[in-house]
């Protein structure tokens, strides 16, 4: 199935040049809060991608009938419904992860990326591009979360998805896990490092220096 340039941009743009986290700097709060381990990062990424794609499609279908003045309320209702479903599913099938994510599943409602995409894209585009846009932005948000979660869990607890990956002889030789990695500031610094690498590879994203 060939995709047109526009749909391709909607799907792939957010993964790189138009990334919601490292270019638009949205959704930072949850990126800091849930990434101390890889597993919650993955679950959060999937949850946001699903909610965003579904909300985009629903709002896009309703876009002709939503009165302009109450559109935010309608968007909130749609997102809140979807988040509640995700939250209940998580409680039923992945209770431990749900506990680790705590309020941040519920706070997907207020995730800036969601409102941003609904306002900026779904209200002006058809369901199919909106769906792709939702998937794209969800994955764009997700890969940052997973990358940050990967390094925080690896360096902070020496594990990945709960399995020990740093061998015992390293600890015997005096290696220690980095406690700072488990604290939120380090997530901010890791996001900054990703932004640093990304900007230095994409010259057109760099701000003009005077």
């Amino acid at each position: 199935m060939g995709l047109s340039t526009k749909t391709k941009a909607a799907l792939l743009g957010p993964l790189n040049k138009n990334n919601p986290v490292i270019v638009q700097v949205l959704g930072i709060c949850s990126a800091l809060a849930v990434t101390s381990k890889l597993e919650p990062s993955l679950v959060m990424a999937v949850a946001v991608t699903l909610v965003l794609a579904a909300a985009n499609v629903i709002i896009s279908l309703l876009r002709k009938t939503i009165p302009n003045r109450i559109r935010i309320i309608v968007q909130l209702v749609v997102v809140a419904t979807l988040v509640t479903i995700v939250s209940e599913v998580l409680k039923a099938f992945a209770y431990d992860v749900n506990k680790q994510l705590s309020v941040f599943v519920g706070l997907i409602v207020t995730n800036c990326i969601l409102m941003g995409r609904l306002e900026a894209f779904a209200l002006g585009n058809g369901p199919w591009p909106s769906f792709l846009d939702g998937i794209g932005n969800g994955l764009g948000y997700g890969w940052i979360l997973v990358a940050v979660g990967f390094f925080r869990e690896l360096l902070g607890s020496g594990e990945l998805l709960g399995y020990k990956v740093i061998p015992q002889f390293m600890y015997d030789a005096g290696y220690q896990n980095n406690g700072l990695m488990m604290l939120a500031p380090m997530a901010l610094i890791l996001v900054a490092v990703i932004i640093w690498v990304h900007r230095s590879r994409n010259k057109e994203l760099q701000e003009e220096t005077n």
């Binding site: 005096g174 220690q176 980095n178 406690g179 700072l180 990695m181 604290l183 610094i189 640093w196």
Partner: protein, 405 residues
């Protein structure tokens, strides 16, 4: 000298435009200007030269650090031989401290300067001399038993994220050496606090072998009072690592467990004299830190509930990193407030915060590091309002004058 100059001249073409080692020009330039005063002069315009360029300023701070460093090294040996219960000569104690300390100094300088040189090379700039002091401060404010790889990781982190990303020497918001310490403190708390890290009990390169005596306790005085169960200060005594009580002179001259730099208030005061006499460190900042600390202590003394709240003023000044922070950290010209009135506010709040953290947070027996880092963040704001107030005052005066006329 002559031979050195000739050699530098001989290899210079390799580093200049077109030479095969041109990419190493910054490194060459750094060594050339380190060895010889550059003889290039400005061609246009008026330039005022002050004898206090940054290289000289840095050297003076290093000189001011030397008393604290020497006493601290001796103290490392002293505490070690006390811990293993052996009597050795003064020179032996000093030598032990020296060889225990040297690896820390070497690691700190090699890692920090390595990154600085590499960054200068990439940015094609001159190598700035800002790390000369930081590199010496770092080993002086960490426990003697900090593993070397941790010092290396923390130094690399600090130089890159606290300094280079902000633009290098002179642009950093936070004190680089303190960021190293903060990074270590939050990353590896077991190696940075508690009673196991302040005294080296193992031998160093085979020197000073022995087993630890019975009744040994390596807690620092501040650590002792933070965890004491004594209900009031009069029931509490500071004790050294052998269990004997500590006298005021022990604390003043620095024969207590602690980081190398901060133990000897006497040596720090010598350093302060050098800094103030040469004008390198601001006496206003130093004095106001102590004033702020004094106000804080008097306040908590008045409402004292437990031993540490009752601890008298002079103990606060003699123990922990208070004096060291006030003299060498708070006065860092880059990260402190720059306006003269701002320095008073900045220093005062550092002293107050340090005492507050010390007294009210048993998790952090020493508050100086966090207090200075916090005020580093506020220094630009303080400056902004001091300047703003000055502008308003002068505008008001100008308005009054013009009304009279």
């Amino acid at each position: 000298m002559k031979a050195l100059r000739n050699y530098l001249d001989k290899i210079k073409p390799n580093f200049e435009e077109g030479g095969k080692l041109h990419w190493l020009y910054s490194t060459y330039d750094a060594f050339e200007t380190f060895l010889f005063v550059p003889n290039t002069t400005s061609k246009r315009g008026v330039h005022i030269h002050d004898a206090r360029d940054s290289k000289r300023t840095m050297i003076i701070v290093i000189v001011a650090l030397i008393p604290a460093l020497l006493v601290g090294m001796y103290n490392v040996g002293l505490q070690h031989y006390m811990a293993i219960g052996q009597e050795v000569s003064l020179l032996n104690k000093f030598l032990f401290g020296l060889i225990a300390m040297l690896p820390l100094i070497v690691v700190s300088y090699v890692v920090g300067l390595g990154i600085e040189f590499a960054m200068a090379q990439v940015k094609k700039e001159e190598v700035a001399e800002g790390f000369l002091v930081s590199g010496m401060l770092i080993p002086m404010i960490v426990p003697i038993d900090t593993p070397l790889w941790m010092v290396a990781v923390a130094t690399a982190f600090s130089v890159i994220f606290a300094k280079e990303v902000f633009g290098g020497t002179g642009y950093n918001i936070f004190n680089v050496a303190l960021i190293v310490r903060a990074f270590l403190f939050f990353s590896y708390p077991s190696k940075m606090s508690g009673d196991q890290v302040w005294v080296r009990t193992a031998d160093t390169f085979g020197m000073g072998k022995g087993s630890v005596i019975d009744g040994y306790s390596g807690a620092t005085p501040l650590g002792q009072i933070a965890t004491t169960e004594a209900g009031s200060f009069s029931e509490f005594t500071f004790h050294g690592i052998t269990g004997d009580p500590l006298s005021i002179s022990d604390m003043f001259f620095g024969f207590i467990p602690g980081s190398v730099g901060e133990v000897s208030t006497f040596a720090i005061l010598l350093g302060a004299l050098i800094l103030i006499a040469t004008g390198v460190g601001s006496w206003k900042t130093m004095l106001s830190v102590f004033v702020g600390g004094a106000v804080g202590v008097l306040l908590v003394n008045t409402f004292a509930q437990n031993a540490i709240m009752e601890m008298p003023l002079y103990y606060h000044f003699l123990l922990g990193g208070f004096a060291f922070g006030a003299v060498f950290m708070a006065t860092d010209p880059v990260t402190s407030a720059r306006t003269e009135r701002g320095k008073w506010i900045y220093g005062f709040l550092i002293g107050l915060m340090a005492i507050t953290i010390r007294v009210f947070n048993p998790g952090y027996p020493e508050g100086m590091m966090l207090a200075i880092l916090l005020m580093n963040a506020f220094a630009p704001l303080i400056d902004f309002y001091v300047i703003d107030a000055n502008i308003r005052r002068r505008l008001k005066r100008a308005a009054a004058v013009s009304q009279q006329a």
